[in-house]
């Protein structure tokens, strides 16, 4: 485990985006550009758009993101456990079961409270 293994990833991040960016830049020179006010309107099935785009969203989205965040953190903790699994005893598995069950209880709570319904 060294820092060096990241050199390739770093270089990839630094350079590889140039490839998808090239056609965009190329298109800037090649593609025609004849803007007019009607063409530049926001697309809304031919109707002129009304009001602000940033309409208020339902809280449902937030609840899904919330459950996701907490499960995400849990999974991240499972990774080192899975890595060391062969060296650990059955007791370690039991601990992880407790760890997982606690969060599943929270999921069940959310479920029972009907917060995980799309149309509440």
């Amino acid at each position: 485990m060294t820092v060096n293994e990241w050199i390739f990833v770093g270089l990839f991040l630094a350079l590889a985006w140039l490839l998808p960016a090239t056609p965009i830049i190329l298109a800037k020179f090649l593609a025609p550009k004849r803007p007019n006010p009607i063409k530049q309107q926001v697309y809304e099935c031919g109707v002129e758009t009304m009001g602000n785009t940033w309409v208020q969203f339902r809280a449902q989205y937030y609840i899904y993101a919330l459950v996701f965040l907490l499960f995400d953190v849990e999974i991240v903790f499972l990774f080192p456990w899975a890595l060391a699994y062969n060296k650990l005893g059955l007791f370690a598995l039991f601990e992880v079961v407790v760890f997982v069950v606690l969060l599943v209880v929270a999921l069940l709570y959310t479920w029972r409270k009907r917060a995980l319904e799309w149309s509440s």
Binding site: A59, Y62, L66, L69, L70, D72, V73, V76, F77
Partner: protein
């Protein structure tokens, strides 16, 4: 490697920026983001000290990992509070929420 104090300096800068954000931003969500910056500054310090002083021990990494848990819980509940307040008062400006102030 670069000397340890450079990492600490970056963390100090990040913490100060976060501090400014907490003090000066009006929007409660922006304040929460600034708090995230401060938590990250603390995390940089934890990891840097672990790396430079006791890389053979796991404690530093373990603590940093628990900071992630706390950060996640804090953001989840904090944003939920903000959303709830927004519902009741139609505002996310932290100064408007002064019911408990005297």
């Amino acid at each position: 490697m670069v000397p340890l104090w450079m990492y600490l300096l970056v963390a100090a800068g990040l913490f100060s920026i976060g501090m400014y954000g907490v003090l000066a931003r009006r929007n409660a969500i922006a304040i929460l983001m600034s708090i995230e910056l401060m938590l990250n500054a603390a995390n940089i310090n934890l990891v840097a000290f672990w790396r430079y002083n006791q890389p053979a021990h796991v404690s530093g990494q373990v603590f940093a990992a628990f900071v992630f848990v706390v950060a996640a819980a804090e953001v989840a509940v904090g944003l939920a509070l903000i959303i709830n307040i927004y519902r009741q008062r139609r505002s996310v400006v932290a100064d408007d929420v002064d019911l408990l102030k005297w």
